[in-house]
Amino acid sequence: MLAYLNFIIHIFNNFILAYFFLINSFYLFFLIFSLFGIFRYRSLTSNVRMNEVLSLPLAKPVSIIAPAFNEELNIIESVKSLLSLQYPLHEVIVVNDGSDDLTLEKLIRTFDLKKVKKVFKKSIETQPIRGIYVSPLEPKLVVVDKINGKKADALNAGLNVSRYPLFCAIDTDSVLDRDALLKVARPFHEDPERTVGAGGIVSLSNGCVIERGRILRVRLPRNFFVRFQIIEYLRAFLGGRMALSMLKSILVISGTFGIFRKDIALQIGGYRNDTIGEDMDLVVRMRKYLHEQKRPYRITFIPDPICWTEAPETLKGLERQRNRWHRGLIESLFHSFKMFLNPRYGATGMFAMPFYVIFEMFGPLLELLGYVIFACYVFLGKVNYPFALDFFLLAIVFGTLISLAAILLEEFFLRRYPRLTDILIIIAFGVLENFLYRQFLSFVRAKAFFDLTRGEKKWGQMERKGFVIEQSHS
């Protein structure tokens, strides 16, 4: 019996070690890949003026769809930011998804909105629309007021009302760089036949100073949880998504800032209402559909258009957000599980799906299981302490190495944080996150499995502080 137990322990140990080396090798490989990709992108776009796109005769117009639910704190700044974007032709559709705060009232007051009878093609079924408003002050702005039906439903309502061939889904708690739309729409102009989706980098706006819907000064927030998230976002966007995009395996274009071809989105029935990870779900279903149709396509990640969004500043808010993201990830992957290791779906089936399922979906569960088993070993007195300490240190140092590499990419390409001390603080948080923060996130993400089996479909409201707005000194 004891020999049998020892054998199981031995197998498990080896499995955890192999998993650890494999996942970290992937992340390191992604970062190296990203480094090449970012250098290439930077060189290809050198001497290219984004303003040139403004004068292009065939620039495809874009409908920006911004679903809003109880966003009274940020809505005006956010809409102003969207209206002031540089682009030849765009409209901004704000979908008030049955907010019970002053979101709609603020919009009506600020933009002098008038209720109109607007005819549109109802391509996707949504919750009833209570009214459509236009602004005599801002002809680009359309506000749709509808009964609450979750974010996907609001996006679908926006899709129905939109007029243009491209749509950009964006959160109303976000602010885009003025040229972000020009940059993210570039692939649609360069390769209009094949490009069906593109996304840019999402950065955290906490602590930044915003004026007239524009980021005026980038500052590192004081909140520790947000600092941890900054390093996470750097790794995810500059390290992960860039490489996955190069490997034709990107499955997530952030719902905070993504641009897609409307016709393809409509062909797959728009956003799925019964999922909470509607952004990932849309991309996964698009890939599935286009593979099945045998249509050549590309979904790309562009490393420099920046969208600034507010991150949760409390543990509770963070827990809700990550739990929701993970539930969304599990739902989307299961919904399209047919693609898993299916050569018919190319790189998506043979690489992206296995990677996301094994490392992204089950990663937190395995990590948590590792902690539990370790606790059991401690209890049974079976721990080889010197080895465990080395392994633990290695995990921390490897994690730090990956964070440092992501910071290096940030430094090479974006340099959003102006002071050297900012970078040193971010690096410090990259080390500190290995103690408790990382374990907390693994727990929250692993909990998503249990929440899903209990049929949890809650969106989880985030407490917002609103943007820091520069005061006028005139």
């Binding site: 070690l17 290439r40 060189s43 290809l44 050198s46 001497n47 290219v48 003026r49 040139e52 292009l56 005769p57 065939l58 008038k114 109109v116 009878k117 607007k118 005819v119 093609k121 236009v134 602004s135 005599p136 002809p139 102009h189 360069e190 390769d191 209009p192 080889n384 010197p386 080895f387 080395d390 392994f391 240190l393 290695l394 140092v397 490897f398 730090t400 190495l401 440092l404 590499a405 910071i407 290096l408 430094e411 340099r415 050297l420 970078i423 040193l424 690096i427």
Partner: protein, 351 residues
């Protein structure tokens, strides 16, 4: 096995730790150096900018040569100043910029054209393209067989040379390109302006692919090239729907009164896409005679036709608005009345 693992983990730990320290040092040092370089760049840029401005305002080529010699080693700052000036300055000033470019950067960039690095070739092509003159078109010819990105940059550079032979070359590349990036070609050819009229005229008679033909027709409308009206008229009855759409679109841009009859025919085309475009163009013509067909189109089963009809009626002024009011009050076709009402709403709030 345990000892082996222990060794692997310990060595990995040491290696990663060392690597981390190196990376951290590199990030910090790099940041310090870059901040210093940026400050230097700013100073050099401002100096170069002032001296080049002086050379331009005095219009002395010898001064331009002196500036070129002085800043020859400061490639980044000089390139930036030249590119920025090239975009804002026209006339004789450009000659001075060209002299500076020729003496300071050209030789280096010509070498870069033969580099094995695509990026370097691309950058050199773009910069040389900015300052190219007719006698230098040969430089870009061999790049027309390069990778697509470089090839397009070369075509773009050629398009900047307002020489008829060069433009013919651009069109030849366009004709032969088996997988053309229509979007980029449009930008390039559109940038040439009305100098391309004879070439488009010639190429419209050739048997090109539908997408290439569509591009040329669209350009004829966008530039606009009214003298191509007879050629476009011939294509209005083309068997390809895409071509008929583009012809209708071009007529809507050219605004030639004679095109009214052809547009009327296209408004009754079998394909709704052609109808929609023809209705839109009829609206652009602002011909009061189109009132009836535009009203009729408001009752079309196709949303885009109805939408374009409403836009057209709005463009016709009081007559069109009256017609929209009538349609909004009728009860036979709810879709038509909704569309008319929406137009009136938009009109009310856009005032």
């Amino acid at each position: 096995m345990n000892i082996f693992l222990r060794i692997v983990v310990t060595y990995s730990l040491l290696f990663c730790l060392l690597f981390c320290i190196c990376l951290l040092t590199f990030i910090v040092l790099r940041r310090i150096i870059i901040q210093y370089q940026e400050a230097m760049f700013k100073t050099r840029y401002l100096q170069a900018e002032q001296e080049i401005l002086m050379a331009i305002s005095l219009g002395k080529p010898e001064l331009a040569i002196q500036v070129a010699q002085k800043y020859k080693s400061q490639v980044k700052a000089l390139t930036q100043v030249l590119v920025n000036f090239m975009e804002t300055i026209s006339g004789n000033g450009r000659e001075i910029l060209k002299i500076i470019f020729d003496h300071a950067l050209k030789e280096r960039l010509l070498k870069d054209l033969h580099s094995h690095l695509v990026i370097r070739r691309l950058r050199a092509t773009r910069l040389l393209g900015l300052f190219a003159v007719s006698s230098e078109t040969a430089t870009f010819l061999e790049l027309l067989h390069d990778k697509p990105l470089v090839k397009l940059a070369a075509v773009n550079a050629l398009a900047h040379v307002p020489d008829q032979d060069t433009l013919s070359l651009v069109f030849q590349v366009f004709e032969k390109d088996s997988c053309p990036n229509i979007y980029t070609y449009t930008s390039i050819i559109f940038g040439i302006g009305n100098k391309i009229e004879p070439l488009i005229k010639n190429y419209l008679k050739k048997s090109l692919s539908v997408e290439k033909m569509s591009l040329l027709i669209e350009l004829a409308g966008k530039i606009p090239l009214g003298s191509l009206y007879p050629e476009l008229l011939d294509l209005a009855s083309h068997h390809e729907k895409e071509i008929r759409i583009k012809v209708a679109k071009a007529f809507g841009k050219l605004l030639i009164p004679d095109s009214y009859e052809t547009l009327l025919k296209l408004a009754r085309d079998n394909a709704w896409e052609v109808q929609a475009q023809a209705i839109k163009s009829l609206g652009n013509l602002k011909n009061p005679e189109a009132l009836e067909i535009l009203t009729e189109a408001l009752f079309s089963p196709f949303w885009y036709v109805r939408y374009n009809a409403r836009e057209g009626l709005l463009k016709l002024g009081p007559q069109g608005i009256r017609r929209l009011e009538e349609v909004s009050q009728q009860k036979i076709d709810r879709f038509a009345s909704d569309m008319a009402e929406m137009a009136l709403d938009d009109l009310r709030y856009s005032r």
